[in-house]
Subunit: 379 residues, 4 copies
């Protein structure tokens, strides 16, 4: 693991997610660029001191120098956005598979560079768009792609949070500080941070890509350096109408990611804060609520389910499902349920999407959004 | 009443709403332009045949010729949009107060003409933006305007329906036919029909007017002559960010009008399909749900409440509240709770808003949306 | 109308419910035993002074003395429980149909006396168990009786309120005062007042009668003279297991009447505070929510629906449905949808049920609860 | 671990729960009484073959013979009920701490024997009443015990499932088979299996013990050997009224454990299927919903929280909290948050409660339910 030292929220999440199914063992890390902090973190996690490092360069070299059956197999990257490219590239070049947090990189060029590096060595690369790990999101995907809603016509995806309602970064809150800092987060904050999840969720469920977009980004909290609120209008493939809005200044909202898809034969509605239920809106005015673990769900949903219906699974289990799918893929477990993880190309699409939104914002008009990452092959 | 003959949904609603509190008596009508149909409707409603007419011109003249204490006091207009101006003008000119369905007219010019006519004779004119009649909407208004959310920063209003998911107008469905017909509905369908409610609800609760807007209107169902889906980005007074979206092709949605307002100190969330509850989002992550009829609500909400908490009130009661406020005003009942009805100026603002959206759509860019109707005085 | 003067909650409800469909006209009343108060109430309601009375005996005689086409056709009785029998009997003997609030009477003997009086003259008598007026309750009935749940096995009905959490009757609150007074309410308070609704709702939907019961009644608020909390275990016909609990001291509860029915093939769940939805629990773990006004509901539900789906109906509309069914019956409108009102025999069953609960309580054991009112014929 | 071999639901849950925080390592097991099956299970779990056994007696002896710093520290017991006592006793006698699934034993005598064994050697013993591990249950406990509801007056706890709606045990379903078999489950099925959770939840949150009870147990599914449905009326300490009902034949219900507590100042409502929210019913008719992870929750709830609000935690995290509290206790971590696990005495109370219910059932009347387990000291 690179990153994820003391005070880091997402590092601990990655570790719990990886541990849940007993398919990963944490054996090496560069948890902080402060060698002492990294060593302490490693010790707390029970690592051998020889495999705890104060820099990822050092770790990459050290692991590569170990015999093949002793070195790490894959690295998890949980550092701020601006470092993703460098760290990932370094490990890829040494032949390690990569699991990297989102957004993939801060520029499209960097993202494409990673795509090419992955393809060149036939490695595997997962981007932790963790919300696609929820079984009921998988069920939604199967239903939409299987035609249960008829032809898709309209998509509404929103992701509203309130935690940045104040200038938290001025108080030295670590999470807020780097996410609102153009040097570390890249040119976008809210859109890159949570808009990338919303964009990927929309793509994952519907299989539709944006072809045009109009964006209105705004900075609501005075003194903030990047946008904290964004509304996008989308034209998706096949003239499907879409809207995507995200905010981090909706005081009182917790972590409200919600997707609605409407087709000629009905609609569906899923919310991350109630992830166990998938609401299907029927044209007769009734609503059918499917529950994770219920009989009759798709094999895709069932394959990423651990507990019976009524025994709530949550965020960690969904996150773990990205790790689980990656493990199944690395182990060559074939079948319908491996390969169900977000790829480096999914990551590149997300970075491109944010760039086009920034372009629309600066032009004040619609812009083209069609895109294909280089070397897209699998999936 | 003008309009509201057999098969008309909204005419019956107006009659039940007016009857609920025993403050209106239906005594005359031109229910259809077919004299026979109008007469039959009148007879079914127990009207005197002498006061049932086959044209509104005839009715206006006949009522005006009656002695002052025998003639109608106010007229309800429930005809298709394109007729609102003519009918309303005619009754205003004869000195009758008017209650008119929304949208007020099909052009801003017509709307302003009515504003001037109302002001000139010091008459009263209500536009039945009925959703503002819900007690918990009044509570929301009191809370927002009283500062309970701090400074407002962001507003999301949506109105999604599914009933026009198919080309219903081709099957001769009467409601669909006129609402999608430019000759009768005006230049807009979804935005004029339900977007006008969403716009007015936003204004009513927040007191904020749009100063700029960007609109993307679309016609999803092939063969339809007007838009059935619309997304708008708004800049409200004080740089408040807003989004408004409406659709009539979200298959499976019933009548989902929802308003969310976020301020520096919290948010609120209200949905028309669960109108008895008002959700207040607190910055600490808790949610407080206020219920109609509860202790401690504002006098404004309490004044438009008929039943104790837990005894659900609904659409008809809210609609009746517009009639009730208008009756209180006509009777000169002073105090905080008369005058709480949507005025002709509110109606003009709605018509103007739709026109600006059409302008933005044709330009593909942001347009100015600031506006003041003529002769705006009261409220 | 007898009763329903100033300060009476339920009188106003009856009047609004009767008015809603324009099928009743209020023409006479004895609104209070204080002649002055009654006269003032009558005047406010627009009644002719000659038909406003200071006693129901006077009113009954006066109406009976009018020519047949001028006198009232039916009387609404909205006085405290202990007066129901006397008033109803008096009007029945003069040939008037009766609409009477619940519980029907305070003793089984009185209830049976009314049953016989109704049968003897072939009059109609409705008891306003208003919660059976909700369209989705009618839908539930059709589903259960049509076998949608398979064989019924278990029923849970609860009615929880909090308004009597304090000794409100000691503060002179009029509603609390008579309902907790054995002289006026009868031998039971909570069970008679709201348990009778719960019992009737269970019977209406399932068609099952209790054959044995065990009751535990308690008085939670110190100083109260009757029970304010009751738990009953039921054995219904066919060895179906049931539980019924009611309370008026659950601080914070508003008016939570809820019915759950489980059969071999699934369950259903309906709550009065969200009356527009009927939840069907499927054995596969999914839930189907039917909404009032939706396509595909039973004709019985549709016949008591006024507005499209998504336009909330509530308590008043349900109450009005009892009046509407009674009007359809009196007018001889045949078909499936007349006669769908609670009868005097339903009322007698409710009174008997309460008496058996009191008996179980005093014995501390199970008691027989089977019962048939005299002269039960119709329905 | 003893038990938890192939096909066992709860064994895997215990393992994931123990793993989540990295405070337990699974090193030895007797996963099945079939030595081959046990060995295969151990191998799959990565255990050393020398520490995988075909009987728990063998495992107990083997572990006790290891040097102190190599042997297990505690054993998890996840076998059917009738074996709990024997296994636990054996490990206790060899000085191991125990984590045991519920119900503790099948007789009160056995339960008391374990209480004495624990006390005699000053060991620790946790019973996995896992539902008390939910942070919002801990919050409920803090609120109730801190007086937020005033004096408690009434408690309603229910646990409804539908999975035993058919005679699943006749199809060889392993879970159903032993739970409905008197030889393995003990004299009670539904009440012992899920009623014990409901009873413990009530006790945990309110701190109140039952002093009298009346029970009505029933077997709904023909051919079943033990009860699958039970309704209990409770008198709790301080004359608090309670009701507890459980069923496993409510077709369509998943795992609906719900607790409602009403006091003089308000109520609370928590449901296991939506465990992140705790609903507080205020006397003014409003509802306040607290969310896990929110600011301002009690330290007790916060200490058992891993993720921010809006990132759902679920069943596994709650289960893990029992393991976490036990680990904190074993490690001597002092403070408010260790020792927050269900003890052997809590287990004994549960067994006694079921026995009294069976007694009431056979007598058809109220029975005394007061009880204190032997050697109750801590907590």
């Amino acid at each position: 693991m690179v990153g994820g030292g003391p005070g880091a929220f997402i590092g601990a999440v990655h570790r719990m997610a990886a541990a849940l199914d007993g398919r990963y063992e944490l054996v090496a890390g560069a948890f902080s660029s402060d060698a002492g902090k990294s060593a302490r973190a490693g010790a707390e996690l029970g690592l051998d001191a020889s495999r705890t490092h104060g820099s990822w360069e050092e770790m990459a070299d050290a692991e590569a120098s170990l015999p093949e059956d002793e070195r790490i197999e894959a690295v998890s990257i949980v550092v701020p956005n601006h470092l993703h490219h460098g760290v990932a590239k370094s490990f890829l070049e040494r032949g390690f598979h990569v699991i990297c947090d989102k957004p993939l990189t801060t520029t499209v060029g960097d993202a494409e560079d990673l795509c090419r590096a992955v393809a060149a060595r036939d490695l595997r690369f997962a981007v932790t768009y963790n919300y696609t790990g929820y079984p009921m999101v998988k069920e939604a995907r199967e239903l939409v792609r299987g035609g249960a809603l008829g032809a898709v016509r309209k998509v509404v995806v929103e992701y509203t949070q309130g935690w940045l309602s104040t200038l938290l970064e001025a108080d030295g809150q670590k999470q807020a500080a780097w996410r609102t800092d153009p040097e570390r987060a890249g040119r976008s904050s809210a859109l890159g941070d949570i808009g990338s999840h919303a964009h990927n969720l929309l793509r994952y469920v519907t299989g539709l890509e944006a072809v045009r977009l109009f964006a209105d980004l705004g900075t609501v909290v005075e003194g903030r350096r990047l946008e904290d609120d964004a509304h996008l209008l989308l034209e998706l493939e096949g003239r499907v109408r879409g809207t995507l809005f995200v905010t981090q200044v909706a005081a009182g909202e917790r972590n409200h990611l919600r997707l609605r898809v409407y087709g000629t034969e009905g609609g569906l509605d899923w919310s991350q804060e109630e992830p166990e239920a998938l609401r299907l809106l029927e044209p007769d005015g009734s609503v059918r609520i499917l529950h994770r673990g219920g009989d009759g769900l798709s094999p895709q949903a069932a394959a990423y389910t651990r507990l019976p219906a009524g025994h709530p699974e949550g965020f960690l289990e969904a996150f773990a499902n990205v790790y689980l799918a990656f493990a199944r893929t690395l182990r060559g477990e074939r079948g319908a349920f491996a390969d169900d993880y977000p790829t480096v190309e999914d990551g590149a699409r997300g970075v491109h999407f944010v760039e086009r939104a920034l372009e629309s914002q600066s032009l004040g008009g619609w812009v083209d959004a069609a895109y294909a990452p280089p070397a897209e092959a699998r999936r």
